[in-house]
Symmetry: D2
Subunit: 142 residues, 4 copies
């Protein structure tokens, strides 16, 4: 299964009055890691999003926050693909700064689109090129 | 243990290009429910936040998103206090629209403050009036 | 022209490490005021958003921030409709706490929809019932 | 005066149900450009933020949004320093994609800190190394 690394600098915009990253923004970071992985894959994520509205909403997500994250921190998210099903995949994330794990978590993403005006989303099979990318035993950098 | 109900209208601001609420914003809703509960309790949450910087950051959180949430939806979050420890408490949330459960989740919150310049947060015992409020078998509306 | 009042409690979620509301969130407040006004009007804002994708994106916005806004502040946004054109309208906002003006600003909103897959938005005439609501010399509460 | 260029890929997280970037997030982009400029300058922005709580909140901001911005867009923000005063500076921004201007705007930022528990922010003189960086006739990339 694929392992993916994505690095960035934590922005002041993501902090709260406690002086640390507001925890729902940590789920934005998880989403950022998955979006970066999708863009790095051979699957045309942005093209399909624009042409058909297909994307990868989350069915589930969880996180544990073991140390505060500050504005200016240079962090890396290590994302491991854990499971790939017909329409969905599961990833595990670790946010690391200087070797220290600051947060861990997971997401289950489904390939889906929402037809205009519909009140439900419609699951779609994972595209073959994305499936191959996710299930390959390899490492990539975002 | 306390059960707390908090109702609001979902804002366009919380949606994404999929046309539904972007999932990290569902954790903002969970946080909104807890903040509303804290404000409804006899504990002076805002006064203490301002005077000493003490607050209730999350140690853990998780959610499952079973149905899309749309701008304009009138939703209620039902929050059940599940466990109250020396410094932390755990709540379970259900977001409901017209009797349909749209999302479920949980949070573990710790009473803590971050001294200015410190790189770690410092756990504090739960205030007695908040503990009593959380552990009372009663229902309240936010 | 209509004057509209919208009151709410400032959330911890909207603050930053400076301990005050992060300024882009003040534009979210302006947007909240306009969305509340739209929902209070006879025009079916949510129904049309869902059925046709029509909405009111901003063409312009500006703000001046004269005093910090804190979590827990009970604020009112006073919104004055200033100008109503064929497809767009202009509003002026004041955010007030206990009689003190904390921020002022304005927005120009256009009635528009974005056809799926299109790379531009398409301006639409303002609906008659919304035009009447905006141009009436009256006060309303959100 | 300094001109600064900052490039990034627009995230799905920043879009709304209209399928385009939600306009308050364009002010987050302006803030991102200024924060990137501050980090590129010889002034120790992050170190001072952590040690003394000093930062650069906005006094004013404005924007005009001439074309929709989409998830996946590769954009550049061109930031021109326009005016540098004792405690504050003013910048002008242009967000560009493939040579097309999508949005323009400006911000006035003050050097300030908020003493813990205070209800007002306290203006500070601009640090000399930052002043020199801002007023130098040069171009830099973030």
């Amino acid at each position: 299964m694929r392992t993916f690394f994505c690095s960035f600098v934590v922005r002041f915009a993501d902090t709260d009055a406690f002086g640390i990253v507001y925890y729902p923004n940590i789920f934005r970071y998880f989403d950022h890691a998955v979006e970066t992985l999708l863009r790095a894959s051979p699957y045309d994520y942005i093209g399909n999003l624009r042409a058909t509205g297909a994307g990868f909403p989350a069915l589930e997500a969880g996180g544990a926050f073991s140390a505060p994250i500050f504005a200016g921190d240079e962090v890396t998210i290590e994302t491991d693909v854990e499971d790939v099903r017909t329409r969905a995949f599961r990833v595990r994330h670790r946010i690391v700064r200087d070797g220290q794990v600051l947060a861990t978590g997971y997401e289950v993403r489904i390939h889906a689109r929402k037809p205009p005006g519909a009140s439900a989303i419609e699951g779609l099979p994972l595209p073959g090129d994305l499936r191959d990318y996710l299930t390959t035993d390899d490492i990539a950098l975002g």
